[in-house]
Subunit: 272 residues, 2 copies
């Protein structure tokens, strides 16, 4: 289902073809909820409709995974409606997505859902070379293939991954995740450097966020030119706020709004 922006039907067709080609002998059954293609202003249907589609899938015990179709903006709008309505079937399921979907990933993880995962979505097929991202997501969903994982994901230390802007907008709300002891991987796209700085100042100023094990910086892509020049790269900005807040900076993470976006299961990694 699409918790935020809509996808064109052709995306569903292409992703289904990729899945069939990848697993000719055992093709996974992909069902694209019709809600994915609705349109209501900015959103793939009104909040109520997106919330209902989410719950239909999440609470269906015959479905193994809920794969968010696309980001944009809108997941946070339905979080307060869907999270209290999850049943036992929802807790045994995998949830895969990133970017705006992080608002729901955060809420699901906070509720103790085990299979919360940051990684590519069907809409990534629209990127040049986007098949690679979709194949990676499928290889994770179908086989938990270890080569799909962000290389520093570990069974010994819990991880979590978020879009910087989306995480900033969860601070202080019931969706703010408890990431004590977690390696927090962060990425962003199309934000001015002064905004990246402002979001990171925000996130690292929240007392509970200072309890993360450390921050790894994914890619910040398509940064519009700052006027005047900001004078610091995104790595320098993250290092600055880590230093000021006492959070260890752990280096780069192989995630971002691109086809190389690797898989980050929330929590400690376990293939089963």
């Amino acid at each position: 289902m699409a918790p935020a922006s809509r996808i064109e039907p052709v995306i569903a067709e292409r992703v289904t073809e990729i899945a069939r080609a990848l697993y000719p002998d055992r093709p996974p059954e992909l069902r694209f909820h019709s809600q994915c293609h609705l349109s209501s202003g900015h959103f793939a249907g009104e909040d109520d409709i997106r919330a209902r589609a989410f719950l239909e899938i999440a609470n269906d015990p015959e479905i193994d995974a809920l794969w968010f179709a696309r980001g944009g903006y809108g997941s946070g709008r339905i979080a307060e409606r869907v999270l209290p309505a999850l049943t036992a079937a929802a807790r045994g399921k995998t949830y895969l997505g990133y970017s705006d979907a992080g608002a729901l990933l955060a809420g699901l993880y906070k509720q103790g859902v085990g299979g919360v995962v940051h990684g590519p979505m069907p809409a990534d097929v629209n990127r040049a070379g986007g098949e690679a991202a979709v194949k990676r997501a499928l290889a994770f969903l179908v086989d938990r293939a270890p080569e799909t994982l962000e290389p520093t994901v570990a069974s010994t230390v819990p991880s979590a991954a978020f879009n910087i802007t989306v995480l900033s907008h969860l601070m202080g709300t019931s969706l703010q995740p408890d990431l004590t002891g977690h390696v927090l991987m962060l990425e962003d796209v199309s934000e001015y450097m002064y905004r990246i700085d402002r979001e990171l100042l925000h996130i690292t100023s929240v007392p509970a966020m200072r309890r993360v094990a450390g921050i790894r910086l994914g890619r910040c892509s398509a940064i519009p030119p700052n006027e005047p020049a900001f004078g610091q790269t995104e790595v320098e900005v993250v290092q600055h706020w880590c230093l000021r807040s006492g959070i260890p900076y752990l280096g780069r993470a192989d995630i971002g709004h691109d086809i190389d976006n690797k898989i980050v299961p929330f929590g400690r990694w376990s293939p089963t």
Copy 2:
């Protein structure tokens, strides 16, 4: 002093001339700290230099008011440095500004400083007709002139005013103001409607913010076109989130990034 972006020296000259013309018999003594004109990338000097300028003025018992020179981005970066270093002289002073300066207004108000005020800044003189905004600020600073006040400001109910984006970035931090029982006035500039929606979702989702007496919406100006059309005006967006969060929507406020920006003293209004 300039807590965020720099101002050109000509702004200081023009504002000083306006003050002399407005009060020919008793011109207020305006001192523009030399820090206002420094430049360090995005900022009017490095964080340490801006923090020092702030404290020099705030802690000087011979100065009546600290008038923030301009917004931009950077006030939040120095808040953790300056707020713990305030002395008794700082508590008896008026602090006037808006937009990015809201991060410091929030922190000052939280510390119990009485004279925290949302209103025009020297840099507003650069707007067409900006003299009117500067004169309004001066009439408040010099005479507490009641006609400068936002019309709904009252002695019976406490008020506070913020830029929507700036307030969103304080949520969950030590700068998040306690606005229980306050009329909260909000304004913004140059933000996409989906971002205004996201900030308001954020602010109204924070449990403590749901204890405000109500929200009044100032002007949201220079909103870039949303793609696709968002389908709601800023008034509808605020009404939506007020309804969802149980916060009373109280109507419009006469504030914004423009020359008509009226004065909003934080707390209950008292002319002395």
